[in-house]
């Protein structure tokens, strides 16, 4: 999953060099490093595996001593319970609505603002750009008290609107769009202007389609971040039917004591969408994460 933008020629050369180097560096220490890395990877992934295996075991087997790496009696009971015995359906829906709404709004807002700052001349442009740069790392956690006051003034506490609200602050997304719009060749714009295109057509017909990959990447990580957000949804919502899934599964306990398999099954269901999104769009996710960290991918 190479994230560097290289031409095919360069790739061929690099591949040849690497192969060359590979042959020369097969030695004791190198082999040891590789073995340690692979063992590390297995250990790192083990808790995930163990959680999944446990969720597939019947209760009696879960608490049996010893380390059983696979279930003797495979069962989906925990999942059946999680799906039909809890509010998970509602929480899923709430998570989906708030995450999709956040993503769509952030992308529209950031693309528009990024385009205006990158391509248009207007009073206050420089001031705005500096403000956006300066708020690169808004400590949103420090604003929880006043966000809560604000949303309660509008009687929006315990609504999905409140959950979405503060998540719309995404200056980094604007910065990334601005940088990518900056690098669109001027000639493209001039040609379109000669053909009579207005600014909106320029944005939607040229600048956005040319940066479709970036939009996908940013949309995916905005979605993942919104889905995973905990603190604000936890504060903004206290009624069970408005909770999203990350909050719901930690705030609502079973009345009949701890059931490990059930707890893990609900957790796995909560993490499943983002895990799937990551596995499908691996390259885009890593690209967007590096861009957000300030590394051109």
């Amino acid at each position: 999953m190479s994230a560097t933008l290289t031409t095919t020629d360069e790739l061929v050369v690099v591949a040849a060099q690497r192969r060359h180097r590979w042959i020369r560096t097969i030695d004791g220490i190198g082999l040891l490093a590789t073995v340690i890395t692979v063992i590390g990877a297995i250990l790192w992934a083990f808790p995930l595996y163990w959680g999944i295996v446990t969720s597939l075991k019947p209760d009696a087997e879960v608490v049996k001593a010893g380390m059983k790496l696979y279930p003797d009696h495979f069962t989906l009971d925990a999942y059946t319970y999680a799906l039909f015995g809890t509010n998970i359906g509602v929480w899923y829906l709430n998570s989906l609505i708030t995450s999709v709404a956040t993503t769509v709004l952030v992308i529209i807002m950031a693309a528009g603002a990024g385009y205006a700052i990158s391509q248009l001349e207007f009073p206050g442009r420089r001031v705005l750009w500096w403000m956006i740069l300066a708020s690169f790392m808004i400590p949103i956690q420090a604003l929880i008290v006043n966000h809560f006051i604000l949303f309660s003034q509008f009687h929006l506490i315990n609504t999905l609107t409140a959950v979405v609200g503060p998540q719309l602050l995404a200056p980094v997304t604007v910065i990334i769009y601005k940088q990518f719009f900056d690098s669109v060749p001027r000639e493209m714009k001039e040609a379109a202007v000669v053909d009579g295109a207005n600014e909106f057509q320029l944005l939607f017909r040229i600048y956005l389609p040319m940066n479709w990959g970036i939009t996908t990447a940013l949309a995916i990580i905005t979605f993942i971040a919104a889905w995973n957000n905990f603190l604000w949804p936890f504060l903004a919502v206290t009624s069970q039917d408005k909770m999203n899934i990350t909050v719901g599964i930690t705030q609502v306990y079973d009345a009949f004591g701890v059931k490990y398999a059930r707890d893990l099954a609900t957790a796995i269901l909560a993490g499943l969408p983002v895990a799937i999104v990551y596995l499908i769009f691996q390259r885009r996710v890593t690209q967007a994460i590096m861009l957000s960290a300030g590394i051109k991918g």
Binding site: R21, Q141, F148, L231, G271
Partner: protein, 310 residues
């Protein structure tokens, strides 16, 4: 003599230019408006409000009266707030350094692998990073479970053969939460380090090898200096991120039932939301806000001087 039409054409041109200029500003206004509204309502306004409320004795919801710097004096004299600041920095040290060091080591290892093997190994390290905190919390509660947790096989020998309730034993609570956090977030560091390693020109190593530079020399003289800017980036991003820690600490402490392991955001939550002291909560928020701003400025300076060196 100048043809009459020339003058008129210039006026028309000017009108067109002015109109397109006005159009441009109008377009910019339309495109910027949503962002400016969100930025103003959800960032500028709450920030100003935070400063204002921090000088009052307001409850969470409702009006309060001006009390000067009383809230800040109270924070200064409150042991619980000291604990919160101390625990936050303790957590930062426990989580940031290990996740950077191990991140670099693992990146070096992963970078040696090729093709699908690299993808699979990288995914193993990275997958935890994209999971929600609740999933991480459930998985590690089960791993560390006092009665049936599989990690007790490793822990018990160090505890005289007894099982240890990790998250109810105060001295091991922070290290354990930091350990889980490193497991959760280190994939991010690995990713950044790999990007940094890939940017190093392979020819430098070839040349160094021809000159007879050994593995250690190559690492200390080539890899380390060239990866240093990424290291600074990783350290500062993680530092600022972990200063805002709340989720894991709160969840593993079973809803923050003990004050001994409180962190700053949790302190804000406690005084503002549980004890209904909006003013005091805002004052603590302002302190946290300023700490983070100071570290962000430092980060900016360090990164700027770092990029000048190259």
């Amino acid at each position: 003599m100048m043809p009459v039409g020339f003058f008129f054409r210039r006026v028309e041109d000017l009108a067109v230019i002015l109109r397109s200029k006005r159009n441009e500003i109008l377009t910019a206004a339309v495109l910027m408006a949503p962002f400016i509204v969100v930025y103003g309502v959800l960032f500028i306004y709450p920030t100003i409000k935070m400063v204002q409320i921090s000088f009052t004795n307001a409850p969470l919801i409702g009006e309060g009266s001006f009390v000067g710097i009383e809230n800040f004096v109270r924070l200064w004299n409150t042991r619980l707030f000291h604990t919160a600041v101390w625990d936050t920095f303790y957590f930062v040290i426990l989580s940031v350094l290990p996740s950077a060091v191990f991140g670099l080591i693992i990146a070096l290892g992963v970078n040696r692998l090729k093709g699908w093997a690299q993808s699979v190994v990288l995914a193993c390290f990275f997958l935890p990073y994209i999971l929600p905190v609740s999933v991480v919390y459930r998985i590690w509660s089960w791993m560390f479970d006092k009665d049936f947790g599989i990690a007790q096989y490793v822990i018990a020998p160090f505890n005289g053969g007894e099982h240890l309730s990790i998250f109810r034993t105060i001295p091991v609570f922070m290290p354990a939460v930091a350990f889980v956090t490193v497991w959760w977030l280190m994939g991010f560091n690995v990713l950044l380090f790999i990007a940094g390693l890939r940017n190093i020109n392979k020819e430098i190593y070839e040349a160094a090898a021809l000159d007879g530079a050994g593995r250690w020399t190559q690492f200390s003289k080539i890899t380390w200096p060239l990866v240093w800017p990424v290291t600074v980036l990783v350290l500062t991003i993680q530092l600022i991120l972990q200063l805002k820690i709340f989720d894991q600490v709160y969840l593993f402490a079973n809803g923050g039932r003990t004050d001994a392991t409180i962190v700053m955001v949790q302190y804000i939550y406690k005084v503002a939301f549980q004890q209904n002291h909006g003013g005091l909560g805002a004052a603590a928020s302002l302190v946290l806000f300023l700490i983070i701003v100071i570290f962000s400025v430092l980060q900016f300076q360090v990164l700027r001087t770092g990029s000048k060196d190259n």
